[in-house]
C-alpha cells in the first residue's frame, strides 16, 4: 500500500535522466535542459532513464554497455535518432525532438507504476577477476598493498610527483567517451597524482558537432549577415551553458540557453554579463591556466586564437563586413579566462553586427569564399587532432583547471555538415 503510494509520488516527480550523447546528440540536450519536467543528472546511478541521443559508433558500444548497466533497477532506455543495441529490442526509439520530453515522462511513469519492467543487463554479471582469498586481509596478496582485491590492483606509486615533490600514488584510468564533463566522444587515458594530472593520452577524439545550417549555406551563396551572426552568437551561448554547468552555475547556464533560444538582433548580453560577474564566474580559480602557446592557438583558430591576441578572422576579407565597421575583437593572454572574455565579447559583437546589418537593409555576405565559423576558419575536413593539444597542455594542471580548460576550447568542432542521422534534424524552438 505504502509502496504503491510512494511509487505514484515518484512517478509524478521530475524524471532523472542521464543523457548519453552520440554524434549529433547535443541537439536533444538544449530543449531538454529547458524542459521543466526533466532533471539532467551527471551520473547514471542517479538516473531512472538513460537517454541515448544521436548515433553511437560501433567501437564505442562496449563503453555504452558499461554505462547502461550502471543504472540502478528499475530503469529504461530511450533512443533518440539512434538504433537500440542488440538485446534491447523492446527499448523505445523516438526521432521527433518535439515529443522527446513527453516520451521520457511517460517512460518514467510506466517504470514507477510497474507497467514496464526494467531494461535488461547487457554485460555478464561476473567479477573482472575472480576473488583471491589470500593475504593478511583476504585481498589476494602479501601486505597492505599486494594482491588484486575485486579484480583491480592497488594504486602504487610508479611516477615521481611533478608539483611539489610530495610523491603520492598514481591513479591511472580511462575516462569517456560518455563522461558528462568532457565533450561527447572524447576518451583519454589519464594518470593522476592527487588532483594533479601526470599524463593525458587521447584515445578517441570528440565527435564532430554540427554547426548551424546557415554556415553550410554561406559556403554556397550569399546569406544575410544578421542570420549568420545570430547563429554564431547562439553557438557561443550554448558553449557558455556547458561551461556554466561545469562551474556549478546551472541557473545562469539556463539563462544563457534561453537567451540563445530567443535571440534577435535587438537582444542584449548586458544582463547575463552582469550576473556572471556577480556570481564570480570570471574570478573562479579554475579559470587560471590553460594558456595556449602561439602555434597551438593559431592551429585551433577562432576565438581561441583571438583570445591569445592573434589577429585572424576571415570576416575581415568580406567587403560587406568591413562596411559594417567590423574589426576582429582581440584578447590578451590566451588562457581559459581570456577565452571566456573573448567569447562574450564576440557574442556582443555578433549582436551589434546583426543589428547594423538589418539597419542597412538586411545586408548579405559578399559571396562564397573564406568563411569564419564560430570555432575558426572553415575546414573542408574536421580537424582530427583538435584534441591533440590536450596531451601537452593538461599535465601539471589540477583537475578543476583541466576540466575548465577543456570546456573553454572548441574541441568538437570542425564540421559544418550535419553528422550521420542528423540530415533532417530541425531543432524545436
Amino acid at each position: 500500500m505504502a509502496v504503491s503510494w510512494l511509487g505514484r509520488l515518484a512517478a509524478r516527480a521530475p524524471v532523472p535522466v542521464y543523457p548519453l550523447l552520440g554524434i549529433g546528440g547535443e541537439r536533444a540536450l538544449y530543449p531538454l535542459a529547458l524542459a521543466g519536467r526533466v532533471t539532467r543528472v551527471d551520473s547514471p546511478r542517479h538516473a531512472s532513464v538513460l537517454l541515448v541521443a544521436g548515433h553511437v559508433p560501433v567501437h564505442h558500444h562496449e563503453a555504452l554497455k558499461r554505462v547502461h548497466d550502471q543504472l540502478p533497477r528499475p530503469f529504461a532506455t530511450l533512443w533518440f535518432r539512434s538504433q537500440p543495441l542488440p538485446g534491447l529490442e523492446n527499448a523505445r526509439r523516438v526521432d521527433d525532438p518535439a515529443t522527446l520530453t513527453d516520451e521520457l515522462v511517460a517512460l518514467h511513469r510506466e517504470l514507477q507504476t510497474g507497467q514496464r519492467g526494467s531494461s535488461p543487463r547487457l554485460l555478464p554479471d561476473e567479477p573482472p577477476n575472480p576473488w583471491e582469498g589470500l593475504g593478511d586481509d583476504g585481498h589476494g596478496g602479501e601486505g597492505m598493498m599486494g594482491g588484486t582485491p575485486y579484480g583491480r590492483p592497488m594504486a602504487m606509486n610508479m611516477q615521481d610527483d611533478i608539483r611539489d615533490g610530495l610523491t603520492l600514488d598514481s591513479l591511472t584510468f580511462r575516462l569517456g567517451p560518455f563522461y558528462p564533463l568532457l565533450p561527447p566522444g572524447l576518451a583519454a587515458e589519464i594518470t593522476l597524482q592527487g588532483d594533479v594530472i601526470q599524463s593525458w593520452t587521447n584515445q578517441s577524439p570528440a565527435y564532430p558537432r554540427a554547426l548551424d545550417a546557415v554556415f553550410q549555406t554561406a559556403r554556397e551563396r550569399p546569406v544575410a549577415i544578421a542570420e549568420l551572426e545570430l547563429a554564431r552568437a547562439r553557438h557561443h551561448l550554448r558553449h557558455l551553458y556547458r561551461a556554466l554547468r561545469l562551474a556549478g552555475l546551472e541557473g545562469l547556464g539556463l539563462k544563457a540557453l534561453r537567451l540563445a533560444r530567443e535571440l534577435t538582433p535587438a537582444s542584449h548580453l548586458d544582463g547575463l554579463r552582469r550576473q556572471l560577474t556577480r556570481a564570480g564566474f570570471f574570478r573562479l580559480a579554475a579559470l587560471d591556466g590553460g594558456a595556449l602557446d602561439a602555434e597551438t592557438a593559431r592551429r585551433l583558430g577562432g576565438p581561441a586564437a583571438r583570445a591569445a591576441g592573434i589577429d585572424t578572422d576571415r570576416r575581415s576579407d568580406d567587403a560587406h563586413y568591413r562596411r559594417l565597421g567590423f574589426r576582429p575583437a582581440l584578447g590578451r593572454g590566451g588562457d581559459t579566462r581570456a577565452r571566456w572574455h573573448q567569447k562574450l565579447a564576440e557574442i556582443e559583437q555578433s549582436l551589434a553586427l546583426a543589428g547594423r546589418a538589418v539597419d542597412e537593409g538586411d545586408l548579405t555576405t559578399v559571396g562564397p569564399g573564406g568563411l569564419e565559423t564560430p570555432c575558426g576558419p572553415w575546414r573542408e575536413r574536421p580537424a582530427q587532432d583538435a584534441g591533440g593539444c590536450l596531451e601537452a597542455l593538461l599535465p601539471g594542471m589540477e583537475w578543476d583547471s583541466a576540466l575548465a580548460t577543456i570546456a573553454s576550447l572548441d574541441l568538437a568542432e570542425g564540421s559544418a555538415s550535419p553528422p550521420p542521422g542528423e540530415a533532417h534534424a530541425e531543432e524545436p524552438q
Partner: protein
C-alpha cells in the same frame, strides 16, 4: 506499577526496533559487478582509488593549531597576570616567540593566500 509500565514500553519499543531491523526484511540484493565499478563515462580503471593523496587543507590546520594553542595558554595566563607581574609578561613573550615561528612557517607554506 509505574516501573512495570515503563518496562513494557521499553520492551515494546525495543521489539519494534528489532522487528524493523529484521534481516529478512532488510535484505536487498547486492548490485551487480558492473554497478560496483566506478563510473568513468564508459571508461575503466587500472587500479583501486584507495591511495595516498594530498590533503590540500593541511596548512590551514597548522594555522588553526598555532592560534588555538596561543588562546589555550592566554586564558589561564590572563588570570594570574596581575599576581605574577613582569615574569608572566616574559613567559608569554617567550611562548609567543616560539609560536610565531610556526606562524612564519605557515606563511611560507602559503596559508594566507586565499584561493
Amino acid at each position: 506499577m509505574e516501573l512495570l509500565t515503563l518496562l513494557a514500553v521499553l520492551l515494546i519499543a525495543l521489539g519494534a526496533g528489532l522487528a524493523l531491523q529484521w534481516p529478512a526484511l532488510r535484505r536487498q540484493p547486492l548490485p551487480g559487478y558492473s554497478q560496483r565499478a566506478p563510473f568513468l563515462g564508459g571508461g575503466t580503471p587500472d587500479s583501486h582509488a584507495w591511495n595516498r593523496y594530498h590533503i590540500r587543507y593541511y596548512p590551514m590546520t597548522l594555522l588553526l593549531i598555532a592560534f588555538e594553542m596561543e588562546m589555550m595558554f592566554m586564558y589561564p595566563w590572563a588570570v594570574v597576570f596581575v599576581e605574577k607581574g613582569l615574569m608572566a609578561v616574559m613567559e608569554m613573550g617567550m611562548f609567543l616567540a616560539i609560536l610565531s615561528v610556526g606562524i612564519v612557517y605557515a606563511w611560507r607554506e602559503g596559508v594566507f593566500k586565499w584561493q
